[in-house]
């Protein structure tokens, strides 16, 4: 049973560039959310996708956008990268959009130079 998979695992970008991160949810799950985890801190909620729509959004600027595909996989896009966007980006999945058990992937480590 495949868990949550994310790609790429590591990437380096420069300020002003754009990045796309990808996530496949755990088998059987239909809801995906994205979190940003800065070094030494707890994860911060970016947004949640269910039925291909953004359902909840945290306190992140519009530079952060996402998409969910019919197969429930998801992408996180960040435009106009800033140095402060350097972090571990975590994807989590669950069955249904209501609060419950979240399964996290291992994350994509983004470094912005």
């Amino acid at each position: 049973d495949a868990g949550v998979t994310q790609s790429p695992t590591h990437l380096i970008k420069t300020r002003g560039q754009q990045v796309t991160l990808r996530c496949s949810p755990k088998s059987g799950h239909d809801t995906v959310s994205w979190y940003q985890q800065a070094l030494g801190q707890g994860p911060q909620f970016i947004f949640q996708y269910y039925e291909e729509e953004e359902r909840q959004r945290g306190n992140f600027p519009d530079r952060f956008s996402g998409h969910q595909f019919p197969n429930y996989s998801s992408e996180l896009n960040v435009n106009a990268l800033l140095l402060g966007d350097s972090a571990l980006y975590l994807c989590a999945s669950s069955l249904g959009a209501r609060t419950g058990e979240l399964f996290f992937g291992e994350g994509s480590r983004l470094t912005v130079l």
Binding site: V4, G42, P43, T99, G105, E106, G107
Partner: protein
């Protein structure tokens, strides 16, 4: 009101000892309180979770104690082992929050052999 406070920031325990981590919240709309364990380079993994209709939940060596009136909850790790050395995060969410979890800043636990 959206914050979850967590203490201590770091904890050192001898093998076989009890590890205790405490969290506090303000938002009375929160009704789901999970604890996550994270090893370096990995995503958070759910350890145990509680809802406010019970004051304690035990799973193996891990116990959550919940005090609704004080808006506090804690994680107890009995018979701590070196393999428990990791960062632990408490989190909170509510019925209308979907996958929007508020995480504490984390506690780095080191269990000495």
């Amino acid at each position: 009101q959206q914050q979850v406070k967590q203490s201590p920031q770091s904890l050192i325990v001898q093998k076989g000892g009890i590890s205790i981590i405490n969290c506090a919240y303000e938002n009375t709309a929160f009704d789901y309180f999970p604890w996550y364990q994270q090893f370096p380079g990995k995503g958070p993994a759910l350890l145990i979770a509680i809802r406010p209709d019970v004051s304690e939940k035990k799973e193996g060596r891990f116990t959550i104690s919940f005090n609704k009136s004080a808006k506090q909850f804690s994680l107890h790790i009995m018979d701590s082992q070196p393999g428990d050395s990791a960062t632990y995060f408490c989190a909170a969410s509510g019925r209308n929050y979907g996958q929007n979890f508020v995480f504490g800043p984390g506690t780095r636990l080191s269990v000495l052999p």
